[in-house]
Amino acid sequence: MNSRERVLCALSHREPDRIPLDLGSGHCCKFTKYFYVKLLDYFGIKDEQLEICSLPYQVVYASDRVLDLLKCDVRNPRLKPIKPPNPYSRKWEDDESYYARNEWGTLYRMPKQKALYFDLYDTVLKDSESVEEDRQFVWPVPETFAPGDRKELQDYHDAGYFTMITEVFGNGFLQTGPLVWRYENWLAMLLAEPERCIPFMEKLLEKKKEYYDNIFAVYGGLIDSTAEPDDFGTQRSTFVSPKLIREMMMPCHKKLNAHIKSKQHVKTMLHTCGSVHAIIPDIIDAGYDILNPVQIAATNMEPERLKKEFGGQITFWGGGINTQATLPNGTPQQVRDETKRLIDIFAPGGGFVFSTVHNVQDDVPIENFMAMWETFQDNCKY
């Protein structure tokens, strides 16, 4: 059984030869740069250049050499976008910080000292109070891709890896608005001024479709899965009511899934952090095959409950170790115990791809990461 067959078997809710493993590749299953340096040190690799995959999160593309050492089944290729002209995109620095403004006009800042990420700092329409003022916003144009740029994906395909595209246009239907208006404004607008939000989400849907069309035009036939992000959960509930998610965001997700699946034979993942138990039926109904990151420490996200209620209908991709507590701050023995316990819960009957709950951050001790990996290796066979 090769990696693709293994993952596809798990996604069809059957038990493969072993649990598929994704570390370092899938959406939010990646490594931050300083953690990756620890991993390179651990393996004695000295000649690798770090390649940043996502600027805000400071995660890297892990090399095939590292991913093979970790026996990972998944690969995310480096797509080569052709950037259309954009009035906002810019990078600069001052004495204290680095700044980057993206094509949505969202300004990110990373202090030069003691900082690990670029965080949202400013947005274009934060002071806008009307539809008329909103019209100042210049929509980004979905990127196209270098024609014929198929070699990397073809190689992964031929080698039998499962491939996941982790590039996305903007963020999700709930989470792109904050990049333009700021969080507080967007969340208030959803209730008080839906007439400003709905056309934005509808336009986002059309642009996302165009973006996937552009990807499939170049890489079609070589992609096994796509991943859309839309963080619906906080630590204790959904950000907005399940009713609002059902009425405003899920119809867009459903239409996007239908479009993607009408164009390519792929599996689709929704990355949605936090306590999302209340809307998992809606995520399934929207056509998603995979749920990530399965934040087991959030309210109502107990692994036994998730597996029992939804294990036959959606694949849990993540949920392998709590990255908010155990992985960075536990002892190696606590990491081993939790990894084993979660495998025992999630693995039976397939529908599980082992990964950490979110990217592995810089503060994770290498001993803990390897304790998790070794426990996985000892317990991954069906």
Partner: protein, 213 residues
């Protein structure tokens, strides 16, 4: 429905303009400003309880807090000289290295809506800045620190050590919040309070404020 009840209902519904108009009308009709303020604070208390109980979500709480803020703009000038109008001061900021402010902003709004004067130091706040604010506000008894990241949690402990070294630690009760923060963490670093959400933070701030009175 009395005018004050109408104001409360408008706050809960997040109707900022209505809140302002109703307050102006209530004052003209002779309502005592301090009673109006208390009605507004009680309304936000209800909003907080509903949020804690999972009956409403962040946007509902947010628009109510914004309506409260609009209302405060109108009522404050009428409260000059009222000794009960402000129950205390609350200094808040995200810990050095952490720029995530959604939670901190919600906490600031909810705490303000419970009658505090909020001194919001913003994001990525260094210990010196907190210490400066504590010294400049000797009547402030409660301080909130927010950390969203596991990687910035250690900086909260360093912050407390810096308060100790500067001799201001005993002046304020320190509460800590943010996604990865737990009661266990707060206890382990010797802080005074934990709140899992903005509504609980507002109740906690009142409780800690009372404890030092």
């Amino acid at each position: 429905m009395s005018k004050i009840q109408e104001i409360s209902a408008a706050i809960e519904a997040g109707k900022g303009k209505d809140v302002q108009d109703l307050i102006a009308a209530a004052i003209i009709e002779g309502a005592k400003p301090i009673d109006v303020l208390q009605g507004m604070i009680d309304a936000m208390g209800v909003v907080g309880e509903k949020f804690k109980a999972g009956e409403i979500y962040v946007p509902e709480m947010l628009i109510a807090a914004r309506a409260m803020k609009k209302g405060l703009e109108v009522i404050r000038p009428h409260l000059v000289g009222e000794s009960n109008a402000v129950i205390g001061k609350f200094i808040v900021g995200t810990v050095a290295g952490d720029l995530h402010d959604i939670g901190k902003n919600l906490v600031a709004m909810m705490v303000e809506s419970q009658g505090f004067e909020v001194i919001d130091l913003g994001v990525d706040v260094k210990a010196e800045k907190f210490i400066e604010a504590i010294k400049a506000n000797p009547d402030c008894r409660v301080l909130g620190i927010s950390a969203l990241l596991t990687t910035t949690m250690p900086a909260v402990k360093e912050m407390l050590n810096a308060f100790e070294a500067a001799g201001v630690r005993k002046q304020v009760k320190v509460m800590v919040g943010g996604a990865p923060i737990t009661q266990g963490f707060v206890d382990s670093i010797g802080a005074d309070g934990f709140a899992a959400d903005a509504a609980t933070a507002a109740s906690k701030a009142k409780e800690l404020n009372r404890s030092l009175n």
